[in-house]
Symmetry: C2
């Protein structure tokens, strides 16, 4: 920056100001400075800037997996929502693992983000403490934690499951199974399963057809394998609700290979409104949790908090209403 200042014949301070859009600088001076910077190929050092101004321009975000269209959409929403304010997303993934999350959060906090977004509302004790003591806005997403750390932008996974059950029952099915991952790791998946069991029991139906497809994330292949196990164990199953559209699609393909008619012999429902559930044959009934919106609303909330507006605890929960997409796989 000193070089640019010399080249433009001004002080470093003026160069610094020229690069911030709002500061007092003569238009011609600014133009001269930007030209000099261009000539020298100068690029600002955000790190130094952050150290000095105590604003790094980072918003940290953790997602369970980078290879997941749902979380990718949320990250897109977050990124786009923050772009206008010059905030950059610093991303990390946890592999659906709380210890990994703790390690990751610690690493991210060393970068002094101005806010941190985490997926889910269940964390290790140390992780919670770190988040709570970080002194920055913390937003938990994709979930409705009973004891939020700070702000929440999410929805009820359990209620969404109930919508599916309701729909399946309304179409005349009662022997309904749930196909999901191991209970322990993916808390959202677990909530969906919990919602399934609760709603089934509330309707006086048998809620014991639970097939575990392995540790999350459940791949299409695992969905297919799980369906095979399901049908050999409970051959009279009339419908299966899957923890995600990927598992659901895998299950659908297994039905096709085995010659089970969908939805005639068995109905299949998924979760997440992935593109595949909309285009496959037959298309799969799903739940749209508004992934992109989650990211966008999270961005809005962060900007609100950073602007010092409305830090009141009253509005700290932003609830989304997932939508049931009824398609041919359950018609």
């Amino acid at each position: 920056m000193a070089d640019v200042a010399r080249e433009a014949g001004v002080s470093p301070m003026t160069v610094s100001r020229a690069f911030k859009s709002d500061a007092y600088v003569n238009d011609e001076t600014r133009k001269a400075i930007l030209l000099a910077a261009d000539r020298l190929g100068y690029v600002m050092d955000s790190m130094a800037s952050g150290l000095s101004s105590r604003k790094t321009g980072f918003v940290a975000a953790t997602i369970p997996s980078i290879n997941n269209a749902n979380f990718a959409d949320t990250v897109r929403g977050l990124t786009e929502g923050l772009q206008a304010r010059g905030l950059q997303v610093l991303l990390g993934y946890t592999n659906y693992n709380q210890e990994e999350e703790e390690r990751l959060v610690r690493q991210l906090l060393t970068r002094r983000p101005e806010a941190i977004v985490v997926t889910g509302g269940t964390h290790s004790g140390k992780c919670r403490t770190m988040l709570a003591n970080a002194g920055i806005p913390v937003i938990e997403t994709w979930d409705l934690p009973t004891e939020p750390i700070d702000s929440v932008v999410g929805f009820s996974n359990a209620d969404a499951s109930a919508m599916i059950v309701g729909h399946l029952v309304a179409t005349g099915r009662t022997k309904i199974a749930f196909l999901g991952g191991d209970a322990s790791r993916d808390t959202r998946g677990f909530d969906r399963r919990r919602g399934f069991v609760r709603e089934m029991e509330a309707r006086g139906l048998d809620a014991t057809r639970l097939i575990e497809a392995g540790p999350p994330p459940i791949s299409m292949r695992e969905g297919a394998d799980a369906l095979a196990r399901l049908m050999s164990r409970w051959p009279d199953t009339e419908a299966v609700m899957c923890v995600s559209d990927l598992a659901a699609f895998g299950a659908l393909t297994e039905c096709q290979r085995r010659g089970f008619d969908v939805p005639g012999a068995i109905a299949i429902a998924g979760f997440g409104a992935y593109e595949i559930s909309d285009i496959c044959v037959p298309p799969i009934t799903s739940i749209d949790p508004h992934c992109f919106q989650i990211g966008l609303l999270t961005a809005r909330r962060i900007i609100e908090l950073l602007s010092g507006e409305a830090p009141g605890q009253t509005e700290s929960r932003t609830l989304l209403e997932p939508i049931l997409l009824v398609r041919a796989s359950t018609s």
Copy 2:
């Protein structure tokens, strides 16, 4: 850090050393310091550390889209390969847009990464200049640029296309179409198309059945729509090679809706070895470009360059050999 030093009764410098694993610090002193840090909930400031040591611990990476399993796999490989050296990936996506790439690269460079990874070998002039003058290792991936900026870890998209054409011809098809995106934006997609045309012509076949599915990325839906257009324009088409498995799957579903037998009436091939191509019915012939490996090898190369080993320009191209996965959709 000063607080921790006081708490532990040592100088800040000793605290700093205690946090670096290799430095000279008495074991007991270190233990005491780490304990004190824990008590105070202290987390290092990597930004300040980076400023001082001129090592930020960042490796910047740009990918066209965050919502793409192929690039996600590459990022996973990169992240895992760099983790051992304590390097953190700073990710950004370009939306398959060169202007966006330029903006993004500029933003990333302000973070003073120790190396930068870009997807593809075609960039705007300014972007090239910035990359070349950044003074850090630059790795271009997923491509074989004719004039690399620095290092390359990639493969020939054109040659991979040729493999598909060869396979389709070997199974007795000659009326073969290519289904891809607009030429201008996605250079890898364009290379695949170029490889298709070249190989078709080399075999004396008609290479004019080119269907444009719109600007990349091509969704499943766009693949389906494009197939519909293809079949109405050239109803006698015997095989279609798609720019990606997603487009290919979309095309497959369209065939199912229209009652075209795959592979009996028409064969379909994709690209990318996405999970879907392996599990759908029938499974789709594809090319596995070793996405994860690209990331891993890129990480290795970066570590090599940062260690000061072998900066020789001789070995700066790392070539991968994509694999043809023959499946039922072209049998």
